[in-house]
């Protein structure tokens, strides 16, 4: 169970970073909504789990936060990508693509033989 949680945390972090990269500075709620939408509502996310992930990324220096005003005039904390975060995103996205490509070969070997 612990291992799966780790995988989930790792992928969640990647999703968060990618989302922020695409959207620019964004608050937690916005990020959560966007992840759900992007996944085509396949992922049903407890929004609460996002905050420890954001905190962790911030502690690791990948993102930074500051308070601002949301589109509908609410005070909200906005997260933006730092330079270190951009690098990490690049690296992890690359790693992830590699991993999925390899796994793909294992999981659909029939095509290979044909």
């Amino acid at each position: 169970m612990g291992e799966r949680a780790d995988v989930w945390q790792g992928t969640l972090a990647l999703m968060v970073l990618k989302t922020i990269e695409l959207m620019g500075p964004q608050h937690g709620y916005g990020i959560a909504r966007r992840i759900e939408q992007t996944s085509g509502n396949l992922l049903s996310l407890n929004y609460g789990t996002l905050y420890p992930a954001l905190l962790r990324l911030e502690q690791e220096g990948s993102i930074a936060s500051e308070w601002g005003i949301s589109e509908n005039n609410r005070k909200a904390k906005f997260y933006r990508l730092t330079r270190a975060g951009r690098k990490q995103l690049e690296k992890e996205a690359h790693n992830w693509q590699q991993t999925t490509a390899i796994l793909d070969r294992f999981l659909s070997p029939a095509e290979e033989q044909a």
Binding site: H27, G28, Y29, G30, N46, Y47, G48, T49, Y51, P52, L55, R56, E58, Q59, E60, G61, S62, S70, N72, R74, K75, A76, K77, A84, Q88
Partner: protein
């Protein structure tokens, strides 16, 4: 890269521990804004307000849960708890400063005493001697019936060295004082004559110049000398061109060839400044029966101390067979060198360490029982915290943290006390003792001592964590909340806490008895009858260089002059000379053989002293029979001798020794002397030694270049000392004087008295603290028990109990505990005293007077301590006592 990120995250989490609640407030705002935005969206999608809010919270996964997972990520939860515990503990301790200060001071005293004594034990017994591979070094001497460790003679040494296979080297040292010529006259020095390989055996190399070369200890190789670092500094101000310089020692020129390292000292002869090659000379060095040397040796690889001892004993037996006259009864002793350096002080240090350890136990017990009392009164708090979800481990950790804080506090204070105590104690060590224990120089906090402090602190922490733990069974936590819990709660306390007091009192008894016995031994020692009057006696050592007074007649003339000159000084009542002053040591012996008796060759060993005519009179020792010498009895007159009473009784039981004659083992004609008088048993050895048979020869009929002037004065003896020294120097600046001192002062300062005094005082100090702590502990226990039983007492009084019977009830409990503690303590202390028998003098381990007085002192103190709470119990107002519940 990832490592750096992880480190950054870790540091952020760590620092978040200390930023406190600010982070959480901010996160609460963030969640609030999140929910608002979500609710706005939901409203836009047409939900009702209540629905919108409900859905938003549901989607979040619960506010509290989110907060919780945020909190866990925000800081390091374990460290966070620790920090919280620490702050909580500090708050708790600050809230009851009386408890905190008392506990910290008790712990500080216990830890301080133990650490200070341990530092001495470490320096003396644990750290190796400062020589190369010191465990392979042996002290090698001859051994006779009277001395397990006697001295070597030079011819025996040469045979031992030649014949043994056990040692890679066997070296000797001997001699002692000497004189150095200075512009202001001759001054005494401490010097040793050593064989050539002495320093190589110890593994010491000079920092300047060279060591003795092999064969340099043979006569005719020229007079050379090696200086100790301290000697170099003292006599030559550390001048850098010292090697090759000439220095006049004992009237002869010597060339300085080397300087030893600053750290080097040879503890068996601490403080020696001049080291000369042995150069056998004079009658004694060449005579097999003249024993004045000590040996050191390095064991060959693979040879044990036992094997070496066995070999040397068989060599000694061989020599005994070969030289039956000289070597009869001469065995061999081989012991670790460390044994002869620290053997004397080991039992004292261990006793002190045990004493300090017991004090620490009392302190810990006291603090534990205080903790127990506190945990008792915190039952409800604990129960509430348990009910609110604090886990058992969490509560245990809380108590441990409190224990740690207390111990750290006490430990730091204790270290301060220990450092001060070490400083004060080493300052109190007189110079002559320091010279014998050079390893104590620079005593301080080293890694050993700090590790010891950490170890005892750790044990204390475990103890303090366990104590309240006993009070924390899960069921009891629930009971703590219920109303009538107070009545039943006391049982465990009474069973456990009360036993602690018994232990405490028992230990206090052991320490008090120990102190009492040591104190009594010391008193006995100082009141040993020395069989002369030590008051108003001034003494000065006199060294006469052979170069200035080469012939025996010269020194006799000088001795007569000295007596004549000193006798006319104002305030001088009488003057005596002796080769060895009284209360020094048994030794400097002679072997005697009686004329006209059968002789089986055994050595009749007797103390031999050369004394002047008025010596016995000056000491005011009693002449029991016959007559004393006259000043006229010198080499021109027949040889005469005084014997002491012990000799008379041993060799002439029921006979009159006057007129009897004895000589040396061969009865050489010029050695025959006639006994002319019997004197009282003057204490020649140390205060705690036996009286040996002794002979007193006229100093004019022997040769003595080193003797002691003893003067009976009308005024204070100390005030006469400078005049005596000046008078001698005025006669001849070439004569050296040493150690001017009053006899009583000398006895008071003697190593025996010093060791007894210091152990008595230190153990006495521990005992006083133990008494104080024990009584405080008992007071605490009784007072606490009274406070818990207030209601019970109220009921009793409401039912008609008299105040006096209430007081009796409380006092009864105290008496029971005190009696148990004192009884157990007395039993244990007899056992403990048996273990320290070797430190006692003239006092039995079961000395009834000491045991009785300790029991009554402690009994009285405990009565006093329990009277106060008993009185308080008796003045309880029953109405208030019942209403207060």
């Amino acid at each position: 890269m990832t490592a750096a990120r992880k480190l950054r995250a870790w540091i952020m989490r760590l620092s978040a521990i200390f930023s406190g609640s600010r982070n959480y407030r901010e996160f609460a705002n963030e969640i609030e804004s999140h929910l608002q935005m979500h609710i706005d969206d939901n409203l836009n999608r047409g939900m009702t307000t209540a629905q919108a809010r409900r859905e938003a919270i549901l989607k979040l996964g619960g506010i509290e849960l989110t907060r919780q997972s945020y909190r866990e990520r925000n800081t390091l939860p374990m460290m966070d708890d620790l920090w919280q515990d620490l702050r909580f503990a500090l708050r708790q301790l600050r809230r009851s400063p009386g408890f905190t200060i008392t506990a910290a001071i008790m712990l500080a005293l216990g830890i301080g005493a133990s650490v200070a004594i341990f530092a001495f034990v470490d320096a003396a017994l644990l750290r190796p001697l400062p020589y190369r591979d010191p465990a392979r070094l042996a002290a090698v001497t001859e051994s006779v019936k009277l001395f397990a460790r006697a001295n070597l003679s030079y011819p025996d040494y040469l045979d031992w060295k030649r014949m043994n296979r056990s040692f890679s080297s066997l070296e000797i040292y001997g001699g002692g004082g000497g004189l150095i010529d200075t512009p202001t006259g001759a001054l005494p020095i401490s010097s040793l004559r050593v064989s050539d390989g002495f320093f190589r055996t110890l593994g010491v190399t000079p920092i300047m110049g060279r060591d003795f070369y092999a064969g340099e200890d043979q006569p005719g190789t020229g007079n050379t000398v090696i200086l100790s670092y301290q000697g170099w500094q003292k006599w030559f101000q550390g001048r850098s061109d010292i090697v090759g310089q000439n220095v006049t020692l004992n009237g002869l020129p010597n060339t300085v060839i080397g300087v030893l390292p600053q750290t080097f000292d040879f503890a068996p002869r601490g403080g020696t400044q001049f080291w000369m090659p042995f150069h056998a000379k004079g009658e004694c060095d060449l005579r097999r029966s003249c024993h004045g040397l000590d040996g050191i040796a390095r064991l060959n690889d693979g040879v044990t101390m036992q094997a070496a001892r066995a070999e040397m004993q068989s060599i000694a037996a061989q020599l005994e067979h070969q030289y039956p006259g000289d070597n009869r009864g001469q065995g061999a002793a081989v012991d670790p060198l460390s044994e002869i350096i620290v053997g004397d002080i080991r039992p004292i240090l261990l006793t002190l360490l045990i004493g300090a350890g017991l004090l620490l136990v009392i302190a810990c017990v006291n603090v534990s029982s205080l903790l127990l009392v506190r945990s008792e009164s915190r039952r409800r708090e604990i129960a509430v915290r348990g009910a609110l979800g604090a886990s058992r481990t969490r509560l245990v950790r809380q108590f441990m943290t409190e224990g740690i804080v207390l111990v750290v506090l006490g430990g730091l204070l204790g270290l301060g006390i220990a450092v001060t105590a070490m400083h004060v104690l080493t300052g109190l060590i007189p110079e002559f003792m320091m010279a014998r224990t050079p390893f104590l120089i620079g005593l301080g906090l080293n890694t050993h001592v700090l590790a010891f402090t950490a170890a005892i602190s750790f044990v204390a922490v475990v103890l303090f964590a366990l104590t309240p733990l006993l009070r924390l069974p899960m069921g009891a936590m629930r009971d703590g909340l219920t109303e009538g819990s107070r009545g039943s709660a006391g049982t465990l306390w009474r069973r456990f806490g009360a036993n602690l007091v018994v232990l405490e009192l028992a230990i206090a008894v052991i320490l008090l008895v120990g102190a009492g016995l040591l104190g009594k031994s010391f008193y006995r020692l100082l009141h040993v009858d020395v069989n002369f009057h030590p008051d108003h006696l001034a003494m000065v050592g006199i060294m006469v260089p052979e170069t200035l007074y080469p012939k025996p007649e010269d020194s006799v003339r000088l001795q007569r002059q000295i007596i004549a000159r000193i006798a006319v000084l104002p305030g001088v009542e009488s003057v005596g000379l002796t080769s060895t002053p009284p209360v020094s040591f048994n030794g400097n012996t002679d072997w005697i053989r009686f004329v006209g008796r059968s002789y089986n060759g055994e050595h009749n060993e007797v103390n031999m002293r050369d004394v002047s005519a008025d010596y016995i009179k000056t000491l005011q020792a009693k002449l029991l029979r016959g007559r004393l010498f006259t000043d006229a009895e010198d080499n021109t007159k027949p040889k005469v001798v005084l014997v002491n009473q012990t000799l008379a009784k041993m060799y002439f039981p029921g006979q009159d020794p006057i007129g009897q004659r004895f000589g040396n083992t061969d009865l050489a004609p010029n050695s025959i002397k006639q006994i002319i008088g019997v004197v009282d048993d003057i204490k020649e050895g140390s205060l705690d030694s036996q009286i040996w048979p002794a002979v007193y020869y006229p100093i004019y009929q022997d040769e003595d270049n080193y003797f002691t002037l003893i003067v009976r004065t009308a005024q204070s003896e100390e005030s006469m000392l400078p005049t005596l020294v000046n008078t001698i120097h005025a006669m001849d600046p070439g004569i050296g004087t040493a150690d001017p001192i009053g006899m009583e002062q000398r006895i008071h300062d003697s190593p025996t008295a010093y060791l007894h005094r210091s152990s008595a005082w230190l153990v006495g100090g521990f005992a006083a603290l133990a008494l104080l702590l024990g009584v405080v502990g008992l007071y605490g226990v009784i007072a606490y028990s009274v406070s818990r039983r207030t209601r019970e007492i109220g009921v009793r009084m409401a039912l008609g109990a008299q105040r006096s019977s209430v007081q009796k009830l409380v006092m009864g409990e105290a008496i029971r505990l005190a009696a148990l503690g004192i009884g157990a303590g007395l039993l244990c202390s007899v056992g403990a005293a048996m273990l320290m028998r070797s430190l006692l003098f003239g006092t039995a381990a079961w000395d009834a007077a000491t045991l009785l007085s300790v029991a009554s002192i402690l009994g009285a103190a405990t009565m006093l301590a329990s009277y106060i709470p008993a009185h308080r119990a008796a003045s309880v107002n029953p109405v208030e006592a019942l209403r207060s519940e």
